[in-house]
């Protein structure tokens, strides 16, 4: 406990320089704007910022990325509340209650409450991260390849469970992700796969993939249907944002529940902020004494999801930092960033590069304070920035993408890769193929493959290694239970549906 606080204060020492404070503040603002723009979400935000971090010290670079990530969670709610257009997926639920409040003339209150809930959620998640991550890291060191393989399987199987409407499409993109991840040299066999040109010996650059998929792909998609946000001239007085005693009382319970739920959903691999908001909303509706108010501007339905999506960010960083397992598209990209910085994600990260990790956590705490302040005080600024940026959005994004792809290897090769994945991203968006499972597969598949082969090699050819070790066995049992539960619940649902018809 004391060690943790000492490490954390060490992190603050690194972060509290003029340069870093300005950087974190800007990261929050950029993240908020990206989150507010429909079409650009957390993954796109991190992807676009990634190339900018190349020349920076690692701690500053990570602060920038996590600051943007956190910022998008705040930003999505602005357009949700003001004009009923969610800026990104985790803000979809926010619009359900936020926009009705806006129409009732309580827009300022909705923005104020959601900002506070976001802050509390983020803060709770961070507290869990601060105290939980070192403990997990301490035990994570005793996990070996078999346990990691099982964890990767859990991660990959949750993709399918949480795929949304069309499991089949999610499976297709997962397989496609597997295929993409096989390019390049395979350190276990020493062979090189599919290196048609020398640039492919090290595989397809992950950053080029995400720049294409989330940056260029979104631009291509949005070119077809020009969305113009009619933002009007929202005019709030400062006092509008300050919730009254009664409002706070209504919001406090849901905010706490949303924070707890969001943090733990965030920790689960495969699930993320978006799922946390849906679950938080459903939970509040169930608990509420007047569920008929939901959809008409219920404060509980606004506060809880907002708290949960912000809590999910630090939550999803726990498995990333301690085990090297990304829990969502955004953290998958963060994993790519860690590898790019030369930091080895995994159980030794906290031991070998603890200073950088703690600086990143300190930066996130700082970012959360900045974001609360800016999201209450700077709403007019954001609205104006949105109005300005959206006119030139495609050109800005394309510019960032090309420079970003170029800077990966100082050559044109990755620009082509980004372009190819831009087209793929466009096709996926247009035909409703989810990109999340694809990105997770690109990141998780090679890990799963290598951990599997290492396990079998460690056991000198025997499969029993997966059930002889207690942690591995627990994970096997857990997975079997999850699969059974999902099959049974689907059967029950079908039977009930048949029954009611």
């Amino acid at each position: 406990m004391l060690d943790t606080l000492a490490s954390l204060s060490g992190g603050f020492e690194t972060v509290l320089t003029f340069h870093n404070i300005v950087l974190i503040f800007l990261a929050g603002i950029i993240g908020t704007v990206i989150g507010a723009l429909p079409g650009l979400g957390p993954s796109a935000g991190i992807a676009l910022m990634l190339p900018l971090t190349f020349g920076m010290p690692h701690a500053s670079g990570l602060c920038l990325l996590t600051g943007v990530y956190m910022g998008t969670m705040y930003g999505g709610r602005i357009t949700s509340i003001l004009i009923n257009t969610p800026g990104d997926a985790p803000a979809i639920i926010t619009a359900l209650e936020g926009y009705p409040m806006m129409r009732q003339g309580k827009g300022g209150l909705a923005l104020g409450i959601s900002a506070i809930s976001s802050f509390v959620g983020g803060f709770f998640g961070l507290a869990v991260l601060v105290f939980f991550a070192p403990i997990v890291a301490e035990y994570a060191i005793f996990l070996g390849p078999p346990e990691y393989f099982m964890l990767m399987l859990v991660g990959l199987s949750t993709i399918v469970l949480l795929a949304g409407d069309d499991v089949f499409k999610a499976l297709i993109v997962t397989c496609f992700g597997f295929l993409v991840s096989t390019f390049g040299s395979d350190y276990i066999s020493g062979h090189i796969r599919f290196a048609f040109v020398p640039e492919l010996i090290e595989g397809i650059d992950f950053v080029a993939i995400i720049i294409g998929l989330y940056g260029l792909g979104e631009v291509f998609y949005n070119l077809e249907r020009k969305i113009v946000l009619n933002l009007g001239k929202p005019n709030f007085r400062f006092s509008d944002y300050i919730p009254g005693k009664e409002d706070l009382k209504q919001a406090s319970g849901p905010t706490v529940r949303g924070s707890v739920l969001g943090t733990f959903i965030g920790i689960l691999p495969g699930a993320g902020a978006t799922i946390a908001t849906f679950l938080a909303y459903a939970l509040e509706r169930k608990l509420s004494k007047n569920p008929e108010n939901f959809g008409k501007g219920a404060i509980a339905g606004l506060a809880s999801p907002e708290a949960s999506n912000n809590a999910a960010v630090p939550g999803s960083l726990i498995p990333l930092i301690t085990l090297g397992i990304p829990g969502s598209g955004g953290t998958a990209i963060m994993l790519g960033a860690l590898i790019m910085f030369g930091l080895q994600p995994g159980p030794l990260l906290m031991i070998q590069s603890g200073d950088v990790v703690w600086a990143m956590i300190a930066g996130l705490i700082l970012a959360n304070f900045f974001l609360l302040a800016s999201n209450v005080l700077l709403i007019p600024l954001f609205v104006n920035m949105l109005r300005l940026v959206q006119k030139h959005l495609p050109s800005i994004v394309v510019g960032l993408c090309i420079v970003g792809a170029f800077s990966l290897n100082y050559g044109t090769f990755n620009i082509w890769i980004a372009l190819i994945f831009g087209v793929i991203g466009y096709l996926m968006r247009k035909n409703d193929y989810p990109t999340g499972p694809f990105i997770l597969a690109v990141v998780l598949a090679p890990l799963a493959e290598n951990y599997f082969r290492q396990s079998i090699m460690l056991a000198q050819g025997s499969w029993s290694i997966f059930i002889n070790r207690p942690v591995s066995l627990t994970l096997v049992v857990f997975m079997v239970l999850v699969v059974c539960a999902s099959i049974i619940s689907k059967q029950l649902l079908r039977r009930r549906r048949v029954g009611t018809e």
Binding site: G55, Y187, P198, I201, E202, Q344, L458
Partner: protein, 319 residues
């Protein structure tokens, strides 16, 4: 702000590229010397070249400015191709480590080490045989007498760690089960948690664990004991003929003139004899300084290439 910096960098790169095409003058060097790193900024190649460039400039060992240029991609295949495109031009110096030999061997890039001019080997990274101090193997003898097939951790298949393990298995006359891990961190973690019986690894990642007594090193792969680990006996003095290390050196483009070669050699040799080089590069990176000039380095490369070729063929990586 950073964006501007990035653009400036891109422009500078473009300018440097256009200069590179200018025809050579008679006096060498007629323009700045370019240090080519086959990996990105912050990687081992990049760090070494930047340290060299700084020391050369601080001590005025070169009459012209030096620029470090990153040509990452394809495990240095891109840099090899780049350097080869400047055949006969001495204004380029590239860092060379094991990938300088293994990338041409394992992939079809149409080049090998003979297409370049070796200038100098600056040092070596020895390999250590490391066990968890709490385990049951205290000496190399214990390992030789173990009555089961031992699991050995190291980096990727075909790496120097893999080859040392193969040589050790031959010398011990016993089967060893080599498990490749990605990166030194994973090997260290696997040894800490007793997933493997011992590890073959270079010194950097395990140095701290050895100092704190969690790991103990049973043998080192150099000819003689090194100053960094004076108590660790060599394989050779324990009766196993293993003398294999990673190398760090520099090479120039192929077919360069004798005058150009001599200039580069003098620059690099003078640099390697400075105190700054010892303090700012050799010591922090746990490198064992072991300088070889062009002819000896060429001889060494030939020998290492044969070792890699034989081992990679036996492993089935090269057909």
């Amino acid at each position: 702000m950073t964006f501007v910096k990035l653009m400036k960098g891109a422009l500078a790169g473009a300018v440097a590229l256009s200069f590179a095409g200018v025809a050579q003058a008679d006096d060498f060097p007629s323009r700045g010397i370019e240090f080519v790193a086959g990996y990105g900024p912050g990687g081992g190649h990049d760090t070494m070249l930047r340290a060299m460039a700084k020391i050369i400039q601080n001590n005025e060992l070169s009459s012209v400015p030096i620029n470090v240029v990153n040509k990452p991609g394809g495990s240095s295949a891109v840099a090899l191709g780049y350097l080869n495109s400047h055949k006969g031009d001495g204004h380029f110096l590239m860092s060379a480590t094991s990938s300088f030999l293994t990338t041409p061997l394992t992939s079809n890039i149409g080049l090998d080490y003979t297409n370049f001019t070796p200038i100098a080997r600056l040092g070596i990274d020895p390999e250590l045989l490391v066990v968890n101090a709490s385990g049951s193997y205290k000496t190399l003898d214990d390992i030789a007498k173990a009555d089961k097939v031992l699991n050995v951790g190291g980096s990727g298949t075909g790496s120097i760690e893999n080859i040392v393990t193969i040589k050790l298995a031959e010398a011990l006359g016993k089967k060893l089960n080599y498990i490749p891990f990605q990166g030194d961190g994973e090997v260290t973690a696997a040894l800490l948690s007793n997933q493997i019986d011992f590890a073959i690894t270079n010194t950097g990642p395990v140095g701290d664990f050895i100092k704190t007594g969690r790991f103990s090193a049973l043998a080192i792969s150099t000819e003689k004991r090194v100053d960094l680990f004076p108590d660790v006996p060599t394989f050779i003095e324990q009766g196993y003929n293993i003398n294999l290390s990673l190398f760090r050196g520099v090479v120039a483009a192929g077919d360069i003139g004798d005058e150009e070669k001599a200039y580069l050699l003098k620059m690099v040799k003078d640099m390697s004899e400075t105190k700054e080089w010892q303090e700012n590069y050799i010591q922090p990176n746990s490198v064992v300084p072991d300088f070889l000039g062009p002819d000896e380095f060429a001889e060494y490369l030939k020998g290492m290439n044969d070792v890699y070729k034989t081992s990679l063929t036996n492993l089935g990586i090269i057909k």
